[in-house]
């Protein structure tokens, strides 16, 4: 991936949020983008968990990189990622039991989110700790931004509410399809389309 050469924090931010956005450019982490985006509150908590995990695991991998033997490099990265995900899971279980119940197995499945492993391997493995933390965090934020947009549309049309607060009047007929995972496919498709069109207009090289 070409973005490993990027060293400037501002450029990293732009790359991770826009030109190399994990969801609509790299199309990573789609499983959770389909599963947890029908209510904004759940999406918010879930994506905050991802931001935390990506940032902290990138930081830890970067701090430990010179001690990690090459052969067990990926095993150790997975261990670090799993460690932070389990921390998130434990904290949710203890202090936000309702959200934890709604998210079900998806918190645990953050471990398998390719964005996190991708950043650890592509960036943190060869960059300084603080910069890796920033890269992990902005990648997480890129993921969060897109998921929140999807959740916004899905909750509004599927339940007539935002963050659980009713927006449309009682008589509103909810779009049942928006509550089910397939609608996220359509929305992600639309976002990819819109995103690429804008990039094309701005003359960015479309990947």
């Amino acid at each position: 991936m070409s973005d490993t050469a990027v060293k400037d924090p501002g450029a990293i931010l732009k790359t991770n949020l826009w030109t190399s956005n994990p969801i609509f450019v790299q199309v990573l982490g789609i499983c959770s983008a389909l599963a947890v985006t029908n209510l904004l509150t759940n999406t918010m908590i879930m994506t905050l968990g991802v931001v935390f995990t990506t940032a902290m695991s990138s930081l830890t991998v970067s701090l430990m990189k010179s001690f990690i033997p090459r052969k067990v490099r990926m095993v150790v990265q997975t261990l670090i990622i799993a460690f932070y995900v389990i921390i998130v899971d434990i904290v949710l279980r203890a202090y936000l039991p309702e959200v934890s119940r709604n998210l079900g197995p998806y918190v645990g499945l953050i471990i398998t989110n390719c964005i996190i492993m991708g950043r650890a391997e592509a960036f943190a493995q060869s960059n300084r700790p603080i910069l890796s933390f920033w890269d992990g965090m902005t990648s997480g934020l890129g993921y969060m931004g897109v998921l929140l947009v999807i959740a916004f549309v899905r909750e509004l049309l599927g339940f007539g509410s935002l963050f659980g607060v009713r927006i449309f009047p009682e008589g509103f007929t909810p779009w049942t399809i928006m509550v089910m995972p397939p609608s996220a496919f359509f929305l992600i498709g639309l976002i990819v389309w819109i995103g690429k069109t804008i990039m094309h207009r701005q003359g960015e090289p479309v990947t």
């Binding site: 033997p69 261990l79 434990i90 203890a94 202090y95 039991p97 509550v179």
Partner: protein
């Protein structure tokens, strides 16, 4: 020291695993009581809701729950509440839903002739369709519902308000409605045999 050697790799892997797992165990231990408390609260809240007892916060849940006796009948654990000379029983039951198990709390009067209330503890039904068994309108229908031939029926069309032994099913969720029908009637049979009435 050669970082790629077998010895270093083994020692390194062991130390790293140990350190991370150790930290996780500490976090787990530190929050264990809180997690257990959450689970207990969830069950207690469900029992109170089924018995139609109002509460505002967690403290009140514990207070109200203290007034309830736990009894075992026929191997089934039941919660008994005697208020104003009337005895009511609630129990935790479950059955297969459309996608996964549905666990409920159901409260009845001592003769199992009237349902006092219903609460859904957990389910995996489709959000917005079968998942609507979670909503107050669905559960409220069962409050004070008199049974007909010892059972209830979930009806597809029309308005069942005020009719004995009948409740509205959920539109667009036939599978879940049928499961609920089955679970409720099985639960009522279980409660009847536990409380010693006619089976």
């Amino acid at each position: 020291m050669n970082k790629q050697s077998l010895g270093y790799t083994i020692v390194f892997s062991f130390v790293v695993c140990f350190a991370f797992v150790f930290l996780l165990s500490i976090t787990h231990q530190a929050t264990r009581e809180q997690v257990q408390l959450n689970q207990e609260l969830r069950t207690k809240r469900a029992v109170l809701r089924a018995l139609t007892i109002e509460f505002n916060d967690d403290e009140e849940v514990l207070e109200r729950f203290a007034e309830i006796e736990t009894v075992t009948r026929n191997g089934i654990e039941l919660f008994r509440l005697t208020k104003d000379g009337e005895t009511r029983y609630a129990g935790i039951f479950g059955g297969a839903g459309l996608w996964g198990p549905i666990n409920i709390t159901l409260a009845v009067d001592a003769d199992v002739e009237t349902i006092i209330g219903l609460d859904i503890i957990d389910h995996n039904e489709t959000p917005g369709l079968g998942g609507r068994i979670d909503e107050p309108w669905f559960q409220r229908q069962f409050r004070g519902l008199r049974l007909v031939d010892g059972g209830v029926q979930l009806i597809r069309d029309g308005n069942t308000e005020g009719e004995d032994g009948k409740a509205d099913a959920i539109t667009g969720a036939t599978g879940t409605s049928m499961s609920m029908d089955r679970i409720l009637n099985q639960t009522l049979r279980d409660l009847r045999s536990a409380l010693g009435g006619e089976a």
